[in-house]
């Protein structure tokens, strides 16, 4: 059984094939939310599911490449935020490692932790790379916080967290519900990793 920090051990043939599929799912989900005209993206469900099935490092690759691919096919400015999604992948992997995805309440707690990490990594990218704007819906929220007297970093940070909170909460719970229904015999074929070596999802 491998440990949390085992980078190479996660990249089995099953995991290598899982990566493009979860990235494409992230993009497909993005399509669904756009088609339903919802103000959320859900494009981290694939990343969280990769964390459940194949551990933090595979999930980090899924997160990073999701943005690279979105950058290659539509919006190149998404690429720097690949770092954010890589961090979300590693964080989700850690939450899985400590068994949070065994219960729906654990998945809800994860839904609070993930946007916190996401906003913390995104804010410096928005400020340093793009000077404070990101070209997304959170810019209007940023302008609001600036108008109420916040600093630029503070406003970008708060706006990022608020906009991501609902998105990541729904994503986290959906990932849990999807993973719960995967047969355990199929789960066992993936190189997932938990601290107590029991299944990642109960």
């Amino acid at each position: 059984m491998r440990g949390f920090w085992d980078f190479r051990g996660g990249f089995t043939s099953m995991a290598i094939v899982l990566i493009p599929i979860t990235i494409a799912i992230n993009t497909g989900l993005h399509f669904i939310t756009v088609a339903l005209n919802l103000p959320i993206y859900l494009d981290t469900i694939g990343t969280i599911l990769a964390a459940i099935l194949a551990g933090p490092w595979v999930a980090a690759v899924v997160g990073l490449l999701t943005n690279v691919v979105i950058g290659l096919v539509t919006t190149p400015t998404a690429i720097p935020y690949g770092l954010t999604n890589a961090a979300i992948g590693i964080t989700a992997g850690a939450l899985v490692y400590f068994g949070l995805y065994r219960h729906i309440w654990g998945a809800a707690v994860a839904g609070l932790v993930l946007p916190l990490v996401g906003a913390t990594i995104s804010a410096p990218i928005t400020v340093v790379v793009f000077g404070g704007a990101s070209g997304t819906g959170s810019d209007a929220v940023t302008a609001f916080f600036l108008a109420t007297g916040d600093t630029l970093v503070g406003a970008v940070l708060k706006a990022g967290f608020l906009v991501a909170l609902i998105d990541k909460m729904i994503s986290s719970i959906f990932a849990y519900l999807v993973a719960k229904n995967i047969p355990s015999t199929y789960m066992a074929k993936f190189p997932g990793v938990t601290r107590d070596r029991k299944p990642a999802v109960a």
Binding site: M14, I25, A35, L65, V73, T77, F130, S134, T142, L177
Partner: protein, 260 residues
């Protein structure tokens, strides 16, 4: 949705199309580095101009405008609002245009940043628009990346349009079974899970078959692999690469000396 269903690559025979992908990648990285080093309106304007010129020479200017320009304009408008109207670390100095109180330092910053982003995004788009993804991946592999990286990137680009089609089919199927996908925000949100779950289960089923197919074709073999495509290079390209790299310390020197 026109977006992720189609690749950005535009086939063509221009000079830019025929340059080796590694040279183009180096150009994009170099342009990004130049953009970070420069910080005055005029040099940045020249850089953005050069970036757009390369796109025009590649014959992909229309594709650039169609795919990215609209998105960049939104970004620039928000940049202008956030920096020009609300945020200025420099001081309280403002001037009025109609009903707006503008902060001069913020406006200059927004213009510089917009030019910088145009230069960088334009440089990368020039590469993506004129290089076939398979050639790009092969060039990256020749630079020393693992074939696994190549497989992941290419398979993703191939699967993405497929997955968007699958999402569309699932949506139609669930609608025909009576799923409500229109109405209030709550109704539309409740309709999400019946769309998300089939997308996952359908794709997860194919993982094992694909993994076995790769193994059976010797993908995980340790021996050196050969390629079916070959990449050509112009005689001037090695020199051009050195020039791209050499320009960076020169620009840094000019910046430190205060000439730029």
């Amino acid at each position: 949705m026109a977006g992720p269903t189609r690749l950005l690559f535009q086939p063509g025979g221009s000079l830019i199309h025929r340059v080796h992908p590694a040279t183009k990648l180096l150009y994009a990285v170099a342009m990004t580095a130049y953009g970070i080093v420069l910080d005055q309106v005029l040099p940045l304007l020249a850089l953005a101009g050069l970036s757009v010129l390369v796109i025009a020479v590649g014959g992909v200017f229309r594709a650039f405008v169609r795919t990215t320009f609209r998105y960049l304009v939104v970004l620039f408008v928000f940049l202008f609002i956030i920096r020009g109207l609300f945020y200025d670390p420099g001081g309280a100095e403002t001037f009025s245009v109609g009903p707006l109180d503008l902060k001069p330092a913020g406006v200059v910053f927004a213009v510089e940043m917009s030019l910088r982003i145009t230069a960088m995004v334009g440089a990368f788009l020039a590469v993506i628009l004129t290089t076939h993804p398979a050639d790009l991946v092969q060039a990256i592999e020749q630079l020393g990346a693992s074939p696994r990286v190549g497989y992941i990137v290419l398979a993703t680009l191939q699967l993405t349009p497929e997955m968007v089609d699958r999402a569309r089919r699932i949506m139609d199927a669930q609608r025909s079974r009576g799923l409500r996908t229109e109405g209030s925000l709550l109704i539309r949100t409740r309709g999400l899970f019946p769309l998300v779950a089939p997308l996952f289960y359908g794709s997860l089923m194919s993982v094992e078959a694909k993994a076995m197919a790769l193994t059976a074709r010797g993908f995980f073999s340790q021996r050196k692999k050969t390629h079916i495509r070959s990449l050509g290079m112009f005689a001037w390209e090695p020199g051009f690469r050195i020039a791209l790299v050499a320009l960076l310390p020169i620009l840094i020197g000019f910046r430190v000396a205060g000439w730029l």
